[in-house]
Symmetry: C2
Subunit: 331 residues, 2 copies
């Protein structure tokens, strides 16, 4: 069995999305249990236990408070000790669950996670990591995707070491290729931060460093792990989401423009489904906060049911793999 704690109140839509997604996850995985944290009245409104046979693996836990999406992380940390987010992390810290999922305020999730779970030895700051698809069917792990608005070179070095561990644990790569994201691949390119980080990473014998890569290389096969600061990584990730949705919408609109197109769109449905499964950002929802002593997965704030489900399944896999312990061992 895998047990997850879930913040039902997080995200732009709250229980309206998180509750149905949790029920889908319980149907999809018979070995999954969920502790769902939220305001009782909101949970009750979104959930009818009689209609859901799998609800014996679901426990609703009342939480008086909610961390707002725009709330300051430090205020949330100090004053929201009965929030769904805080109680979820307390349950993980107490060993009652194997991992956590929230679509809530990223800054608050990070601050409270650091406070409750603590950092792994030798890691100063958590990073958010996610896997981007590649033409060869494998992944490129990218970090940091927004846990930190600014990182010094030493932190980028730590991210490289954590990224190596993640690629080894999750994709079974014996010696993942590590790269730094820059605006050119030549050594002369970039700012002082990436140049200094390159020196530190190059000097680290444990890391198979392959040099600077550019944004285009995120979808190539030059590297298995791409390291960047959280500002750059967040912009890149959200640009990916925006462009992928734009392209899918453009394709749909082009076929919908006349009856012949609509007929062809119907004929190509099986192919289109396979294409969407590869490129729809919703299928990649869920990013891990790593460097912490516990599995914490952040879902996109505006995730729908199917997307929040992906984040739940991701957290279950990371919990099974005991990702934080494995990262600590690797480091």
């Amino acid at each position: 069995m895998v047990t997850l704690a879930v913040d039902a109140m997080g995200g732009d839509h709250g229980p309206r999305i998180t509750v149905p997604a949790v029920l889908l996850a319980l149907s999809a995985r018979q070995d999954l249990r969920v502790l769902l944290f939220g305001r009782q009245q909101d949970l009750a409104a979104a959930f009818d236990p009689s209609a859901h046979p799998q609800s014996d693996r679901l426990l609703l836990v009342h939480a008086d408070e909610v961390v707002g999406m725009a709330e300051s992380p430090s205020v949330a940390l100090r004053s929201k000790k009965q929030s769904s987010m805080r109680l979820m992390l307390d349950a993980l810290d107490a060993g009652q669950v194997d991992g956590c999922v929230s679509a809530g305020n990223t800054g608050a999730l990070m601050a409270i996670s650091r406070h409750v779970l603590k950092m792994s030895d030798g890691i100063e700051r958590p990073a958010i990591v996610s896997a981007l698809p590649r033409p060869d069917g494998r992944h490129t792990f990218v970090l940091d995707l927004g846990a930190n608005v600014g990182c010094d070179s030493e932190q980028l070095h730590q991210f490289a070491r954590m990224g190596r561990a993640v690629a080894r644990v999750l994709d079974g790569l014996p010696d993942p290729r590590i790269a730094l994201l820059n605006i050119g691949s030549e050594d002369s390119k970039g700012n002082d931060q990436v140049k200094l980080a390159q020196e530190l990473i190059r000097a680290d014998d444990q890391l198979n460093y392959v040099g600077f890569v550019e944004g285009t290389d995120l979808f190539g096969d030059r590297a298995d792990v791409v390291v960047c600061d959280g500002f750059v990584g967040n912009v890149a990730l959200k640009t990916v989401e925006g462009l992928a949705r734009f392209i899918l919408a453009e394709i749909r609109a082009t076929f919908a423009s006349d009856w012949r197109g609509r007929l062809l769109a119907w004929l190509i449905r099986p192919y289109w489904r396979r294409i969407e499964a590869r490129i729809n950002p919703g299928h990649y929802n869920g990013a891990a906060l790593i460097g912490l002593r516990g599995v914490v997965v952040k879902s996109h704030g505006n995730a729908g049911e199917a997307e929040f489900l992906q984040a739940l399944l991701l957290a279950a896999r990371y919990a099974e793999k005991k990702l934080p312990e494995q990262i600590e061992q690797e480091l």
Copy 2:
């Protein structure tokens, strides 16, 4: 007539790509003239004048030297005074041509442009600007895309003012909406650089500032001009290119996987061509270096013929619009 100076030696492929692209441009626009700068022997090898009736509008100009793609900008500026890039810019400065195009070393192009052409009054640093497509058929102008590895808040403010001018001149928008690229839309988000830039831009009555936007909004319609520092912008732009090519390749591979798919791919060709025209990054090749006293367009270094052609046509349009003079007037 519009006359362009073209650096035949720039880019990953040099005259093998630039010469055929120039011939295509001369066919496409009967009112275009080109001065093509490069090493005589390389130009001669790529060009057979007898086969090209439009060659009466093409003048080959010998340039002894070439600026290397990885060469230091300061070295290129000091020691390559007979390079194709330098002579091209000298011709623009002397008023012999209306605009310039190079696929060469971006840093060198910027350094030599600044030295030869000088900056417009009140602008400290050039910026690279390009237009991204939007669902509503209009564009979002994004700058800086890599002219500067780091920018202070005052420079971001200048970019906002230049971006407003570009959107007014090129898209005829009376009062373009200006935004700053950040990792969240709330005022509390981001680093000191963007927060301070927001104060400066908000305080500027001439600018219709709409707040922070995220990477997803580059393809939405929240803003007409998105301002960011060159490191972030370059990563975002190259991520866009990489993802767009990845998606196009995934779609082609999915349809090519069996005979039924190949048949369907043949049937949907007219729709596919329209889709590709919208989303293939090659159709958007060419970005203007603005803030300079002259039209300078940078092509992607690895552009093919059709892509370099786009950069040439873009430069011709910007030269006709007298973009630098118009930006100066706007400022």
